[in-house]
Amino acid sequence: MIKEKYYISGFCSIKEKKVFKNGNQLYVDSESDNLKDFAKGIYKYLELKYPKFHKMDELCKLGFLASEVLIKDMKEVDQDTALVLSNKSSSLDTDRKHQESIQDREDFYPSPAVFVYTLPNIIMGEISIKNKLKSENAFFVTESFDAEFVSRYSEILINTGKASNVICGWVDLDNDKYDVFLAFLSKKGKIELTKEELNNLYNQ
């Protein structure tokens, strides 16, 4: 297989009440004591006007906000940009909420607005809707961020013409602990895409 070179043209992360873009701290919030308020703070900081945001579950909010930070300064994102996301806890944060609503047969009111978020790939649906991305989606569940698999899978998408660019990364939420990292992969950029480089940026 002829291997073209691909690049990490941007990256961002949300961890420990901070938001980073390309390695630089963009936003910090030491005040909020819950994830919902923290996410709302980032939403306000980014000056977003997107009522659908408030309907998302917390996992989607995190992935959505990270994608907004990542593409903030881009003129437009190509419709063929694929999404390759992964995490450890799937949608368990919301799964537990749905389970709570059906735990008691005498008080059994499952909510459609909760149930729809009991699938981790909904994050990619939300990002696709916002940015009109009509492209490849795949959501993988692994014990920890698998930079090798994610980069190889992303490469093959671009290499076979299935996508022009890839937004890949890790969006995990479990019992209020979150860890979010997204990278924009394309044919142009300064940082060459290797599994080591992707892993380094994730661990920054």
């Binding site: 499952p110 459609p112 790939n121 649906g125 290499n159």
Partner: protein, 379 residues
């Protein structure tokens, strides 16, 4: 670019514990959907397709005496074990493994067994059971998972990560998912009726299946079947409602056909998603018409299996392989009269038919869609 062949498979479902038994029951138009009266799943009787627990226990005893596995794990491990027995040349230890599931052991949340509810626990179970060199990757992509997992397996072989990939899919019929689909007003009060005027929603099902993808075609004694095209696309429209224009499905089909080097007139048969919800089936009819596929014979197997979520598109692709090998198609069970706004060619009786190329499609929550082209390789 390497070619990728679908060389072996197994299905564990309410209508059989081997692919052959499944095909035989499809041929007899036997459905796995029946009235289920099981208080563990639902307080009232409902229509669904469940794997019989006693039958599963008995089959499980034939391969292991260890009872420390969940129902889903037993189904998945049994499926792979059977495929290994039937294919001595399959060296599972060295294979790349993709596990396709939407909810895994989610029913364990009910009893507070949080640890088993993590999807990676299934990956760990499979790795330990078969002493695999590589940790299985779990794909959880709503109702397209099983079809997308085949595409992922194909791509893993094409990117030269592996020579061989085994795709394992499975989901249970649980109170968790059933209650959710009830809250969506999407469950049929009789066995589901895909594409029919009288359809009112889905019947849920449970099943596991496995498929061996290889870059080497000499691994099978049967007719050689290749996956020649695959693509997935998001509707970018709504997180639960199917697109009114069939956008993502149309794009997926167009891209998969392009990769396979085919045009729409060369497709012999479509094994559709056909969940039997009013909006899904309508969306599919629109997408097939946009793609110029309105005259191609089409069926949905949901009338036999119910909707088995992460297993469904995998099972339907496996059945497609055998339809190609046997040159036959099965009636779209539950269908009486066309109930979509655009014309499509629903199969209403079993038929022997020369088949060379099959289109498999699936669509799911999150606006995701997948299309696969599965072809007979000319000898």
């Amino acid at each position: 670019m390497k070619k990728v062949y679908l060389v072996a498979d197994n299905i564990i479902s309410p209508i059989g514990f081997s692919t052959e038994e499944n095909i035989e029951n499809l041929r007899l138009n036997q459905t796995g959907i029946k009235k289920v009266d099981d208080d563990y799943i639902w307080s009232e009787p409902f229509f669904g397709a469940v794997v019989n627990n006693d039958k599963l226990s008995k089959a499980w005893e034939s391969i292991s005496s260890d009872l420390g596995y969940t129902k889903l794990e037993k189904m998945m491990l049994l499926s792979v074990s059977k495929m290994i027995v039937e294919n001595p040349s399959l060296d599972i230890v060295k294979c790349g493994i993709v596990v396709s599931t939407t909810k895994g052991n989610i029913n364990n949340l009910k009893g507070g067994l949080d640890k088993k509810a993590y999807l990676s626990s299934i990956s760990e179970t499979i790795q330990n059971y078969f002493k695999l060199d590589h940790t299985p990757i779990v794909l959880s992509n709503a109702c397209i998972s099983g079809g997308l997992a085949l595409a992922v397996g194909k791509r893993m072989i094409q990117s030269e990560l592996f020579e061989d990939v085994v795709v394992i899919g499975g989901d249970l019929l649980s109170e968790f998912t059933l209650s959710g689909f009830f809250s969506f007003q999407a469950v049929s009060n009789e066995p589901c009726k895909p594409f029919c005027k009288n359809r009112t929603g889905i019947s849920l099902g449970e099943a596991a299946a496995s498929a061996w993808l290889s870059s080497k075609k000499d691994t099978t004694k049967k007719e050689i079947i290749e996956i020649t095209g695959d693509a997935s696309a998001n509707d970018a429209n709504h997180i639960s409602g199917p697109s009114r224009t069939g956008e993502g499905l149309y794009i997926s089909i167009a891209k998969a056909l392009k990769e396979a080097g085919l045009d729409s007139t060369q497709v012999d048969y479509i094994t559709a998603h056909g969940t039997a919800t009013p909006f899904n089936d309508e969306m599919e009819a629109i997408a097939f018409n946009r793609a110029g596929l309105q005259n191609v014979p089409l069926n949905s197997l949901k009338g036999y299996y119910g909707h088995t979520l992460g297993a469904s598109a995998l099972i339907e692709s496996i059945v497609a392989r055998h339809c190609l090998i046997n040159n036959e198609v099965f009636t779209s069970l539950g269908f009486e009269e066309l109930g979509v706004s655009q014309s499509i060619n629903v199969i209403t009786k079993n038929e022997k038919k020369e088949l060379n190329r099959v289109l498999k499609t699936a669509s799911g929550f999150g606006g995701c869609n997948v299309a696969l082209i599965i072809e007979k390789v000319a000898s």
